[in-house]
């Protein structure tokens, strides 16, 4: 084996004279050495943040404050502050909940599924994508808790022995499944992310001058010293976690879709929901990763690490999942009429031509038509265009959940109870607040943790270089 390596890589000097493969592009530009990778990533933690970071942070905190005010008002006054009525009992909050959970899925997709498929380009983006997952799940979790009306009693959904008998939770309810799915998802994503961070925290520990920072890094790097015995077990556990997280991520959005699919409402009662929701989640999640990565590479000057090649790969995933979602839209229309059920047929007509048709057509434009532009290489490699399209995809995916939830509810079986739904300022405040929370935490993450996985990037540094 040693001989093979020597023949393949030539002598020691090969490091200085890399030969670029014609078939593959290097993943990291600039022909970096190992120590350059360390310096490039760690200096983001040492240097003071630039103007761009401060502007973004201030705007996010303003949104967060708006959200805090809306939350306080809702909790102290009640759910009556929202635009719900007796026909439409679920609207903005559940839309936001499903939207944020979906965003989170791309992080796990990149860190676990692409790991199992041996996609080496994931190493530049997996750290921030996983952080995005954690933050998005936090944003998502807020909405059901606020909607409970008495959020301080949220723990009643846990099956613990209690003074009420013990009266246990109803394990037949998809809402209880949701609780288990999302808390497991958050926990496993958190430990997965932290495990990946440990070697990088050790790198930061070994080069930081500030005493306080070094003490913090020392504690959280768990005494990591790069031992091969440790690496060996670490990689085994990393693989196990990836194998566990893969079905987990599929289960989470399937269970979220059961919240709707197990009911009898036309537009919800559908067997295609689990795969349709999972594809939609990965679709919106990848769009959000692209939005964030385009901002990150500019704000933190990481253009050589997050290259056009990475963005192009993500565009391809978006194109694929967007197309799956489009097929799901067509399937819904077909099955609606094929069922011969007048309620199902009415629902489809009401979606496409009813009072909320504008929401439906926004969704179709952003999710089914816009991503088809990614067939063109020019589009996939022009960063400003990707940025705009990725935002449009997320607008579309937010509307998809709005369409599924509100349009299905507002004209139900009994025409005398038909109603319209108009969101209130409080609800917009909560939506804005969740974006504020998301970006505030993400910007803090960029300052406090190595934003790119150094140990993993070093492992793929020579890809297509020699």
């Amino acid at each position: 084996m040693a001989v093979a390596i020597k023949q393949h890589h030539g002598t020691k000097g090969s490091m200085d004279h890399p030969t670029v493969s014609n078939l593959r592009q290097p993943l990291i530009e600039g022909e970096k050495s190992y120590s350059e990778v360390t310096t490039d990533i760690c200096k983001l933690l040492d240097n003071k943040p630039g103007v761009g970071w401060w502007v973004a942070f201030s705007v996010s905190v303003c949104f967060l404050i708006a959200g805090a005010i809306a939350t306080t008002y809702t909790v102290t006054t009640g759910i009556g502050t929202w635009g719900l009525n007796k026909t439409i009992g679920w609207a903005f909050d559940i839309t936001n909940f499903v939207f944020w959970i979906g965003i989170g899925h791309a992080g796990t997709f990149i860190s676990a599924i692409l790991f199992l498929f041996n996609q080496k380009w994931r190493t530049s983006v997996n750290r921030s994508a996983e952080a995005m997952t954690l933050i998005a799940v936090m944003c998502a979790g807020l909405f059901p808790v606020i909607h409970m009306g008495r959020p301080w009693l949220f723990y009643w959904i846990l099956p613990y022995p209690n003074a009420r008998g013990s009266l246990w939770v109803n394990f037949r309810s998809p809402l209880v499944w949701d609780f288990f799915a999302i808390s497991t998802y958050f926990t496993i994503s958190l430990v997965f992310w932290y495990l990946g961070l440990v070697p990088d925290l050790a790198t930061a520990r070994d080069r930081t001058i500030s005493k306080l920072k070094r003490a913090v890094y020392r504690i959280f790097s768990l005494g990591w010293n790069g031992s091969n015995r440790t690496w060996s077990r670490y990689e085994t556990v990393y693989l196990v976690l990836a194998a566990l997280a893969t079905p987990l991520v599929l289960s989470v959005h399937s269970i979220v879709s059961f919240d709707f699919a197990t009911s009898l409402i036309p537009g919800w009662h559908s067997t295609i929901f689990p795969p349709y929701f999972v594809a939609g989640a990965v679709f919106s999640g990848f769009a959000m990763v692209m939005t964030l990565m385009i901002l990150v590479r500019k704000l933190m000057h990481l253009e050589q690490y997050i290259t056009v090649h990475h963005l192009e790969n993500m565009c391809k995933v978006t194109l694929l999942t967007g197309s799956i979602v489009s097929v799901a839209y067509l399937t819904e229309i077909f099955i609606g009429f094929y069922s011969g059920n007048p309620n199902e047929m009415f629902l489809i007509l009401n979606r496409v031509l009813g009072p909320y048709a504008w929401a439906y057509w926004t969704m179709v434009t952003c999710n089914a038509i816009v991503p088809q532009l990614f067939w063109f290489k020019r589009v996939r490699t022009t960063i400003p265009v990707i940025f705009v399209l990725s935002i449009l995809v997320n607008v579309g995916m937010w509307f998809e959940r709005f369409v599924i939830i509100v349009i299905s509810l507002h004209r139900d079986f009994l025409p005398s109870s038909w109603a319209m739904y108009t969101p209130t300022v409080t609800e917009f405040g909560l939506l804005l607040g969740s974006f504020g929370l998301f970006f505030t935490l993400f910007l803090l993450f960029l300052r406090l943790f190595p934003a790119i996985s150094m140990s993993e990037v070093k492992g793929v540094l020579h890809y297509a270089r020699r």
Binding site: I5, I219, V237
Partner: protein
């Protein structure tokens, strides 16, 4: 400095370490050191080097089995919890569904299987590698940055320091360190 039993027994043994600039040099040094009968204590690298486990003679980790057993425990706990609470402890009629509604218990059972398996696998990893919050271990300089280190045990009197030095030099070691205690 926490030392386990093995470390205490060997506390007086000496070691010889060599520092390399890249993984290929380290890799060939590891292969030759093992072939010429040296006892490799451990290898230290900034990132996992492909094939190093076999080269250094490590056995396959058994952590996958631990994850499997932990998952089985989670599965039984999840299913047991739901069947016991819903069908035995306080059976409630929910929409006429059977008390033991097994198919509806699958999602939570699955989630608890994954949760147990993942958390216990990580827990065992941390314990087995003595990684914990206040762990203080010797770290070779720049090994978390861009240096690759091999550590040989001077296991007995037959250890030939000069032969080891020569071997390291042949593979391009930039420094050889001798020390008193294992890291």
């Amino acid at each position: 400095m926490r030392a386990d039993k093995d470390d205490k027994a060997q506390a007086n043994s000496r070691y010889t370490a060599a520092v390399f600039r890249n993984e290929e040099e380290l890799f060939s040094a590891v292969l030759e050191a093992r072939a010429s009968g040296f006892e490799i204590h451990d290898v230290y690298t900034p990132f996992p080097v492909h094939g190093m486990d076999q080269a250094a003679g490590l056995k396959r980790s058994r952590l996958t089995w631990i994850a499997l057993i932990a998952g089985a425990i989670g599965l039984m706990f999840g299913l047991g919890l739901q069947v016991w609470t819903s069908a035995y402890d306080w059976p409630l009629n929910v929409g006429g569904k059977p008390f033991n509604s097994f198919p509806l218990f699958i999602p939570v059972t699955f989630e608890l299987t994954v949760l147990f398996s993942g958390l216990i696998a990580i827990g065992v990893l941390l314990v087995r590698n003595r990684l914990w919050l206040f762990s203080k271990r010797l770290v070779f300089s720049r090994v978390t940055d861009d240096r690759f280190v091999i550590v040989l045990k001077q296991s007995d009197a037959s250890f030939d320091q000069r032969r080891a030095m020569k071997l390291f030099a042949r593979h391009g070691a930039i420094k050889v360190i001798e020390g008193d205690q294992f890291v």
